[in-house]
Each structure stands twice: as C-alpha cells, then as structure tokens.
Symmetry: C2
Subunit: 316 residues, 2 copies
C-alpha cells in the first residue's frame, strides 16, 4: 500500500509556505512563494494552487498519496472555512475553502492560524501524545488554540481560543486593547505590550539601560532583565504574572493537561517560563494543577504548516 502524506499551507501576509507531512506529522518537504495579497484573493488562491501542485510534482509522491490538504490563515475563520476577516490579507467574507477546492480539485480544510499551530504542536511537537492542550502564541498579539480530545475547539461561531482577550489587568492599570475592551492579556504579555511598557518607562525617565537604545524590541527587554536591569525585570515579571494568572483561570475552567507557549516572545526561555510557572503554581489549587505542565513550543515556525496538514487527520 502506498504511503499516506498530508499537505499543509501556512498563508501569511507576504509569504505562502507549503509543506508535505508524513502520517506522524514529520515535515518531509517544503516550498514557499510570495502571497501577492495586493492581487486580491483570486491571485492569492491561484498562487497557493500553483505552490501546492508544484510541491507534489517535485516530491516522490503522487496525488494518490495525498490524503488531505489543510490551510491556516491569520484571521476570523468560521466552521465552514469562510474567512470573515483577515486584516493582513485585506480579506472580508472570502470563502477560501470553496475557492481552493475548486482550483486544486481536492477537499481542503481551513482554520485559524493559532488553532492550526496548536494542532501542529499536539501532532508532533511539544504536545505529542497529550489530548488536552492550550497553546499560547506570544507575538505581535497573544494568540491561542485550544485542543480538546485531539481536536481544535472552535466554538459556536468558530471564535473560540481568543485567550489574548481574556480581561486580566485590573481596571486602574488597564489600557485599551485593539479589540475594544480594556485590560486584555495581549496588552501586557505580547511583544507589543512588552515594548509599550518599556517605552513608557523610558519616557517616564526611569533609570534603565533600555533608554540607551534607539528602538526597543521585546528581546532587548529580556536581555536587559538577564543582566539585572531592574525596570526590565519588572516588565518581564508583569508579562509573566498575567500569563500565569490567565493559565490558572483556564485551568479552573478547562483543566487541560498541558500549556504550550510559542511565538517570538517565548524564545526568552527560562527567565519567562520560570515566572509563568511560579505564578501558575501560586494561583492554582493542587487538585487542579496536579500533573499539569507549562512547556515551550518545539516546532517553531513550522507549527503552522504541520498543523494545517494535520487538519485532515484530526477531524474537526
């Protein structure tokens, strides 16, 4: 019998990444090309189709080996594969599932990129073998994916997993979030939030090595914290405090077995994870946290492709 492989598409604002995975979620081959979002969804879906066909042609597999195609997209994707809104592509109400199926001539499953990355980690990354996982992606925002019994939990309108918009910061310290609420986790624990807190401290004239930098990145803040810059230590503590508290709250509600933290900010390593764990431990009773752990993602940028390929195996 011929080998079964799965194709994953990670549709970004500037680049489309396509990959072939084996049935265990191992990424065998990749291909990438420009998104050309300025050409509209017709151009973008044409490009995806070309890249998908190309990767199969260039591989040792035939279309008979391909047991599914999946795509992850940054934006609001409903249960039927309709992209309600994708800001970085400038899309509104694009039925990308149907369009791709027509162009490629095969069934395609589409989902939100944070959900897909979570699925990737559960398939062959930091969540392998764990059925109930909550995945945080700490980047420009705080994305989330909830996996329950090996399936992405999408919710009634396909909007579940928006953990970056849990309101966790007390009103007095809360700042406005892009979502319209105040005090969202994303305002303090994303790269954007960390940079904002750093800039605020510099502007207030606080004594910090960050004031010597022309531009400040989240990495700069972690680096400064590591060499005992007090302002940076305070900022890292604050970001980690709310991450730990939000995990504690999710543990009361969903009691997952594992929290996986990925995205650019997660590369900070122990200085971040130690404090997330400390706060989680502090706020979560033993009966709930027993055996529950908080670990870094392991697939890095491949999580999107792998998870998209996995959409076909972990039926949703």
């Amino acid at each position: 019998m011929s080998e079964q492989v799965y194709i994953g598409v990670d549709l970004g604002g500037t680049t489309v990444k396509v990959g072939i995975c084996d049935s265990k979620g191992k990424l065998i081959q990749t291909h990438e090309g420009p998104t050309e979002s300025e050409g509209g969804y017709e151009q973008v879906t044409d490009n995806i189709t070309t890249y998908v066909k190309k990767i199969v042609e260039e591989s040792t597999y035939s279309w008979e080996n391909v047991h599914g195609i999946g795509a992850g997209i940054a934006g609001f994707v409903d249960k039927k594969g309709l992209v309600k809104r994708a800001a970085n592509l400038g899309w509104e109400n694009v039925h990308v599932k149907h369009i791709l199926e027509e162009k490629i001539g095969k069934p395609v499953i589409v989902n939100n990129d944070a959900n897909v990355a979570a699925l990737g980690e559960v398939w062959s990354g930091a969540g392998e073998g764990v059925s109930d996982v909550i995945c945080y992606t700490l980047g420009t925002g705080v994305g989330g994916g909830i996996i329950i019994e090996n399936k992405i939990h999408q919710g009634f309108n396909g909007m579940a997993g928006e953990i970056g918009h849990m309101s966790v910061v007390p009103d007095l310290e809360a700042i406005q979030c892009g979502c319209g609420q105040k005090g969202c986790l994303e305002t303090v624990s994303s790269a954007t939030g960390i940079i904002r807190m750093a800039k605020d401290a510099v502007e207030r004239g606080e004594r910090t090595s960050l004031s010597l930098l022309e531009t400040i990145s989240a990495k700069d803040v972690f680096d400064a914290a590591r060499v005992n810059d007090e302002v940076s230590i305070r900022i890292v503590k604050r970001a980690a405090y709310y991450l730990g508290r939000s995990m504690s709250m999710l543990a009361f509600v969903l009691n997952p077995q594992r929290f996986i933290v990925g995205g650019g900010v997660s590369k900070a390593g122990d200085i971040l994870f130690d404090q997330i764990r400390e706060n989680f431990e502090k706020f979560t009773p033993d009966a709930i946290k027993e055996g529950v752990d908080i670990v870094p993602a392991t697939l890095g940028n491949d999580a999107g492709i792998v998870g998209a390929a996995g959409l076909n195996l972990f039926k949703i």
Copy 2:
C-alpha cells in the same frame, strides 16, 4: 422491543433523590430517602442501592429496561468515579463508582453535581438541542458545568468547569474566597456573596430597607431592588456585572452557543438576567456573541436527577 429507561441518583448531604427517565430525558418517576451520611459511605451506598432497587420494583419497568445508572455528587470527582473530596458527606477518596457497582450489580457512572445538572439541562431542559453550553448554578457558591459537543468537559484531573473560581474582581475590591484565591466570581455572585454585600452595607450604616430585617436572604436583596432600594440595586448590579463579564471571558475562550443560569439565585428573574445580558453584550464583540444567548435553567431541582440518568446516554 422493550422501552429503554435510565436511572439517575442525586446524592445530597441529607437526601438521596432517585428518578427514572425515558430516553428523551423526561422524568417519569421519583423516589427519595435520607442520606444518613453520619453512617459513613457504607451506609450511604447501602441506602442508594435500596432506593434504586425500590424505584425499579415500584415502576412498571423491569431491570431489562434499565440501560444505565448515573449519580451526581457535590464534590471533587475524578474521571474514574473516585470521590476525592465531598465536604457535605465527609468523604475523602471514596471509590463510589466501584462500591455502587458491586452493591447494585450494574455499571454506574459518577460525576460532579454541577456537571450533571448542566447535562440534564442539555438533555431535556433549557439547552435541549444545543451541543455547546456553559451552565452556571448560583447557590451557596457558583457552580459550573461545561458541555462540549453534548459531552461533559471534565478536563485532565476531572476538575474542569470551576467557573465560580474565575478571578474577576479587581484586587482592591477583592475578598478572600474559600478556595484560597481572592476575587473569585463566587465571592460576589453567589447567594453567599450577595448576602455578604448586603450585611456589609447595613453594618456601614447605609440607608437601606435591608437594615430592618433580622436576617437577610439573597431573595430579600432582589425584592428590595425591585422596589427601588438603592443599596440593593447596587448589589444586584455588581453580582450581574461580574456574571456578565465572566461569560464574556468564557465566550472569548470557548465561544459556547448558550449560557444557562440555574440555582436558587437565578429565580430572581429579569432583574438579574437583563443586567447579566447587558454586561455580556457590552464586553463581547459581535463576531463572538452573534447568536449566543443567556437563558434561565428550566429543570429546577430535577436537573441533578435527569442529568445523572443522562450520563449513560451522553457517554463521557
């Protein structure tokens, strides 16, 4: 073919209620008797066995019609039916599933009472036909049950659904909760929380009709609010505010289709529900709240028996 019926056991601290449900979750017959928890788990499980056998004998059904037995218990129940702790029964680590199965001679499924009540509402109450529901039980505490795709979501340690312990009250106003945390939803939105806020107001000498009462119940506070007692209006608003906010937060995370609110406090009706809905609307974006509603439970005290019987139909 003979009719299929299901037996549900609602094990309370003073009374055991047993019922027979048909395959649509309609309660056909009930029986109740004392728990006698002072006699220990041997006595209690003997009593349950007696009541279960009695209700079948007294019914028009035979044991062949009984397609399952389920029990709901207030306390921490793990996935294997082990009661880790049940304060009102004085139990610790009682393997009630095994004991009951041995005594009754039939398979028994055991779960937490709030989970079971949620399942009852989804089977034949306010959540009939809705697969993704979050159920609040507002009583002495705030209990919760999460139903995902018609199944109770138990979580890794069986501890999911503890929504009463979501930390929602800002630190400055937060009071200590029995769980060890501060600012839990339960501290402001349970009957206990409402009564505490009322007593505090009276003690502070605030001008309120509640000060004329010898003892204050949650119902007194709602009754006074209805006739424009300002202190009572403020207390009801606060309880409803945090309920609405917690639902908004759960909508971002789980995006359920329906929130069902039951328990003694929910009998307050519109004065409570209108404000819960108002706050939920305010804090939840359209894409998430579209088609989502907040409704009162309809099974009342029967939810526990019905849901326990349903444990056998909605496999967990």
